[in-house]
Symmetry: C2
Subunit: 532 residues, 2 copies
Amino acid sequence: MSKVYRTELTPLSFLERSAIVWPDKTAILYGDREIDYAEMAAHATRLGHALTASGIGEGDRVAYLCPNTPEMLIAHFAVPLVSAVLVAINTRLSADEIRTILDHSGATMLVGDTELLGTLSPIVSDLATVTEIVAIEEVGSDPGFATTPYADLLARGTDDPLPWRVDDEERTISINYTSGTTGQPKGVMYTHRGAYLNALGEIIHSRHTLDSVYLWTLPMFHCNGWCTTWGITAIGGTHVCLRQVDPAVIWSLIDTKGVTHLNAAPTVLIGLANDPAAHPFPQRLTITTAGAPPSPTIIETMEGLGANIVHVYGLTETYGPHTVCELQPGVGDMNVSERANFLSRQGVSYIIADPTRVVDDEMNDVPRDAETLGEVVMRGNNVMKGYFADPDTTHEAFRGGKFHSGDVAVWHPDSYIDLRDRSKDIVISGGENISTIEVERAIASHPAVLECAVVAVPHERWGERPKAFVVLKDGQDTTEADIIEHVRGQLAHFKAPDAVDIIGVLPKTSTGKIQKYVLREKEWAGYERRIN
Amino acid sequence: MSKVYRTELTPLSFLERSAIVWPDKTAILYGDREIDYAEMAAHATRLGHALTASGIGEGDRVAYLCPNTPEMLIAHFAVPLVSAVLVAINTRLSADEIRTILDHSGATMLVGDTELLGTLSPIVSDLATVTEIVAIEEVGSDPGFATTPYADLLARGTDDPLPWRVDDEERTISINYTSGTTGQPKGVMYTHRGAYLNALGEIIHSRHTLDSVYLWTLPMFHCNGWCTTWGITAIGGTHVCLRQVDPAVIWSLIDTKGVTHLNAAPTVLIGLANDPAAHPFPQRLTITTAGAPPSPTIIETMEGLGANIVHVYGLTETYGPHTVCELQPGVGDMNVSERANFLSRQGVSYIIADPTRVVDDEMNDVPRDAETLGEVVMRGNNVMKGYFADPDTTHEAFRGGKFHSGDVAVWHPDSYIDLRDRSKDIVISGGENISTIEVERAIASHPAVLECAVVAVPHERWGERPKAFVVLKDGQDTTEADIIEHVRGQLAHFKAPDAVDIIGVLPKTSTGKIQKYVLREKEWAGYERRIN
């Protein structure tokens, strides 16, 4: 018999509750569409039935390729409602990269927005497991290969209530692919329990209330929108969906929809601040930012316009945010540069997470001296269940009983962590991971290239961008533009280097290992950190 | 091997975190004492070790008889820190009642404040399991029978770190005794998991932040202070401890300590509003109230002074609050009587609780027509684990897979519950449960009494008070005052009836069952509800 005092934790219960408490309150605003909580729950229920009728069963993966539309949001409830697993794919990836994810996840259904589906033409005939492609037609049109219009999918469902419950809170609710260091995507598994707890954490740390009007500047395919898909629904706030991160549109929505909260990488804030429409926010706006430390300039600018900045840090493997730069008494009285300096630190663990540690190679805590470098490691309910179908990589990531972030930090005497470098070969550009190894592989496939190395270099707008150093084969010739074009033919365009230096020789150790740090040091002269 | 992605939920982690993040921030204010978070955690650690050194092991019960002092608060962490179980005893009970609880819980240690310990003189020689009595001397002095001064207990401890973890989140963290209908106290068991989740619920629903200054007007022995002992600690707020609920002292603390939040039964608010010191609050004050629906008058008065009212409802068996009268768009624009009418409803389940239901005798939902009466039932993570050492009563309370509150409500079309009556023989006076059966038993022991019945009658200050109807034996004579005095000799004084009507005959059914509702109806003429 089930225990009267125990219900398995699941964010499904949040939509159940909000549909009971605020059936007529606006759950989603999107252009002219207004969807209330009763309608949102009804849509999720109907879609859940439709998935079952389409052969989707317990644990099956359903892939989505959509911008931040109401349908993408509702899938966060409909798919787990039938104990299936949501795979929300990064819309900026190339067709080949998306194929890799579809095949690896074993998804049998792909639901895609017609603005994006067309890019898959080269690969759709060649998918290992997808048997049905559903097209949500709003911008663009069905590219011809989609088997099912979204309305037809929904028509397979019914309105019979489904229980907003899960039989085991450690069941996988979603898989979020992250490129990792090698470029081979890794499928990060979230549990219902972890998603539930992180959603409550987002409410508490971004101070959401019933009055929250949350603008979807953060892609939902990033860590399920840092679990805010579930959190805003829990608190009964309003989701303002957004197809594209366009500063002019964002300003217009802030002005006309009463936006109170948004999450975004600093690069989005820079775009906002520098838009011609920039002006003081008509209401208090809380901006939760991650992906790079916010600069004093952007903090000053945003605070000047009437924003509160909350700085958080985490990885796909930690449900998005894992630490927050908690305020201390007196921070409000600091001048802006002192405050920016304070806020630029990644901080301390979320209320729902175990303490974050900075450790040496033997997994011992480094001294809290603000100087000694160590790796940031995490464990507990805010750490992924593991990488899907990849026990070796999971085992490696969890070595010593902790999740290894690959981020290098110092530990301040007050216990706040402060990222300084990255042991992983990753460039984080505008909040997106780019594997340097993957870019190197693409460059090396150019017939004129002998060898190459890619490093992150600081960039005012994007935080970091990849830069390549290339040695050509004897007698070969090519140009920077040609190499960039070559990479763009293979990878998502944002992964192509901004600059390519063709040089005579790469710096190497005596054993022949390329010394990337030598290349990096020159590029980062004048910067305190080696991440941005 | 333990899972990297799972940590057992426990509120212990909240003190661990706050001591890391805000070591120097004031955790507790109490008179001239200021205790920061590092000191609070150190005190809990030392006390934990001291308990172990005193023979307290896993699952052992440690009883506390204390007002809302720092020591009572710290026990909420120190006792579970060594996997023991906290039994915080209602300080208003009589010596005999306290003996019953001590014996039933099997506590081996009693920690008591010397202001209260003295009342136990008649029973200390006669306790079944308590082998050590620790005296916290601040007001009054050691009555002579205490075996250990608190400082001596602490001296047995060390400062070695203890893990802020529990091996099983369903382990019992505390037992809270409630008098129930028969007067036989029932020990309500809370789990670490439930306490953790309810604490997050209190943060979210009372909108606590790092800046919360929380005044302890609610006794910690009531549901561990509705889990706010753990919640305020989690958010890094400041606990303002309070020995006695004295309106003048409360006003002074609100004025001088920047109090932002307090929890209290409406009766405490009435006391505050009618104190000569009453004046507009110097800062926004959030008052979370339960125990009786707040009246329009008190809502208007408190809002006029600058308070936000949050109305919650629950029972000891639901970790304190289980429902909240969630606001709806437009409530802010209502006039005060409309708003008071809205806010007087008990509302909807907490974000961390399963939906609350109102059911008929066959456990079917009653219509949501605001008219049909039914019993309020609950289940899920916010329901107790069961009654300690009382499987029969637990089984009865959990019949049909739900916890039976014994409270009778209507269900509004908007799904808010609205209490109307009580099927249990309980009077709730100033937030305290009084069993009518227990009072009847005390009255019946008077030599002149033939039979009697006790019912709740409405009371402006206390919400409800017990009133007795008594039939005397032939030829016997006694007075109202004599009967009241007789009861006060046996039970806690607040349980004695305010009024005793000596009458010729009690109304009965044809089978001889006393018709309490007949007695009640007359007393409640003009009231919409039969609870207050």
